[in-house]
Amino acid sequence: MTTTTTSGPEALLSHLHSADGSATFSYAGYTIVGAVNGPIEAQRRDEIPEEAVVDVVVRPAAGVGGTRERHLEGLLQSTLRQIILVTNFPRALIQITLQITVAPENEYVNTKVVQANTNLPILPALIQTAVLTLMSAAIPLTATLASVVIAATTEDGSNREIINPTAREIEKSRSLHVFAFTSHGDLILTQSEGEFTMQEWEDIVASAQRQCCPSTSGDINMGDDAASGADLGTFTRSVMEAKIASDLYWK
């Protein structure tokens, strides 16, 4: 099974020349190239009189986008318009294109190109790429986002949470959850599938919050959890710091 869960996240900013902002983000076996054009002129039939239209396009690595991509686009669109200052650009369009280039493959199964199942595990990588591209395009945001995918499994009668599970772990899990938090520590997106109780969900939210925003939750992650992934909120911040430092080198 090809997963790179052990290696940390990597990002490359502003590398495409024709888009206003662009980023490539790779983490947990996914690599996504994102580009933002905006604010540009919106089509007459789409424009909103007092706000900018946020348009998200998700394109799969192989095959044409179907219902699965439309579903992801819907989730991303409603999440991102919460953090973009849409009222600053009335009647404009902010167009976000996310191209999936590498998705983890399961060596034990021959995959079909057209898959009808939902694809929650890719959501954190898409959100992270979208946020990085928006910052690369200098679109004003209220907050940045950090998100995580958690699988809940039952092993030998005891429940266990796996952060950034591999394809095989997802197959065996009872339920799968995706959460996104703003940099202020507020929950902005939650998606769950599978079987779980309310109590389990609350426990998972708590560990997701510890994972995404360690500073605001007041809880210190002592590193006792071996499956703990990278802190994407801090990662975004350090990537931007490095970018700004290199951009303002001349000063």
């Binding site: 495409l16 020349h17 888009a19 190239v33 580009a35 192989a62 294109t97 190109v113």
Partner: protein
């Protein structure tokens, strides 16, 4: 945005005058390509081509399907090109532009109709099961000469690709996963490459006022917007022409086309050697310790 912003009059005059005098904005010779780079992904069948600021990603996938009823002995081979707003805000989603239609048509003629991939070898059970090979082309950044770069990406990705191994015993067809058996390469017959010539009118040379066409190779987006016509020649390194396309534009002397095709052969040989070298490097990188030959269940022919 419905269309690309046009260059200003000053820009146009400057570039055209420079081209007439034999100079280009980036200091290249008229028949010189930009810096070309080709990278293969971790997975089989992923090729990332960078030509100057143009960047193209090709991904090949295979799955088992039912063949077309009128061609029961052939597998299915498709090339999909869809230009996204990532390449330029002028491209809209789900609305193909002229560039996109021309690009997919040319790739179709160059790679598919020239029989570079032996589709008969993709047949598993006649009339019932066959491989469907699909190439997805993603234009990440568009700075001119999409055709040549795309063709290179498609050919490189297909030659890099490995499909799952299969076996037939009696009536049962087994498709092995990569964990069970090392995947096998496609049956590849020849590698065609496209070379696009962009024409910029003619100038008179010599004392008798003889007219000579000016053409450029590997144009940038700006130069492409100013050209009067273009001609794409596809051939393999043996000099076999797969197709010649000159879609409209200003007329060009027949002699020029002949000259272009002989120069195209030279460029195609360079590109062909470049791809061969990159593929060899990649296989050397993957074949650490020389164990790949033992894993392979392929018969030596």
């Amino acid at each position: 945005m419905p269309r690309e912003a046009e260059p200003s009059q000053n820009e146009k005059d400057f570039i055209l005058k420079a081209v007439r005098e034999g100079h280009r904005l980036d200091g290249r010779a008229l028949d010189q390509f930009r810096q070309l780079d080709l990278q293969f992904g971790e997975q089989y069948g992923v090729a990332d081509v960078t030509l100057g600021k143009t960047r193209i990603l090709a991904k090949v996938t295979a799955e088992v399907t039912v063949p077309y009823t009128d061609r029961p002995f052939d597998g299915i081979f498709t090339i999909t090109t869809e230009l996204s707003p990532m390449a330029s805000p002028a491209f809209e989603v789900n609305r193909p532009t002229e560039t996109e239609v021309l690009l997919s048509r040319l790739l179709e003629k160059t790679v598919r109709r020239s029989n570079s991939l032996d589709t008969e070898s993709l047949c598993l059970v006649a009339g019932q099961k066959c491989w469907s090979i699909r190439v997805d082309l993603h234009v990440l950044s568009h700075d001119g000469n999409l055709i040549d770069a795309s063709c290179l990406a498609v050919v490189a990705a297909l030659r890099h690709f490995r499909k799952p191994d299969t076996s037939i015993e009696g009536d049962t067809l087994t498709v092995y996963t990569p964990a069970e058996r090392e995947p096998v390469p496609l049956s590849w017959l020849h590698s065609p490459f496209c070379i696009t010539f962009s024409f910029f009118g003619s100038i008179s040379v010599g004392e008798d006022g003889e007219e000579k066409d000016i053409w450029l190779l590997d144009t940038t987006l700006l130069e492409e917007q100013l050209r009067v016509s273009s001609c794409t020649i596809s051939m393999n390194k043996h000099g076999e022409i797969c197709q010649v396309a000159k879609p409209g534009g200003a007329p060009v002397e027949a002699v020029t086309v002949v000259q272009c095709s002989s120069l195209a052969l030279q460029k195609v040989k360079d590109l062909s050697d470049f791809v061969d070298q990159k593929l060899a490097e990649d296989s050397k990188h993957r074949n650490k310790g020389g164990l790949l030959a033992e894993l392979s269940a392929d018969n030596a022919r």
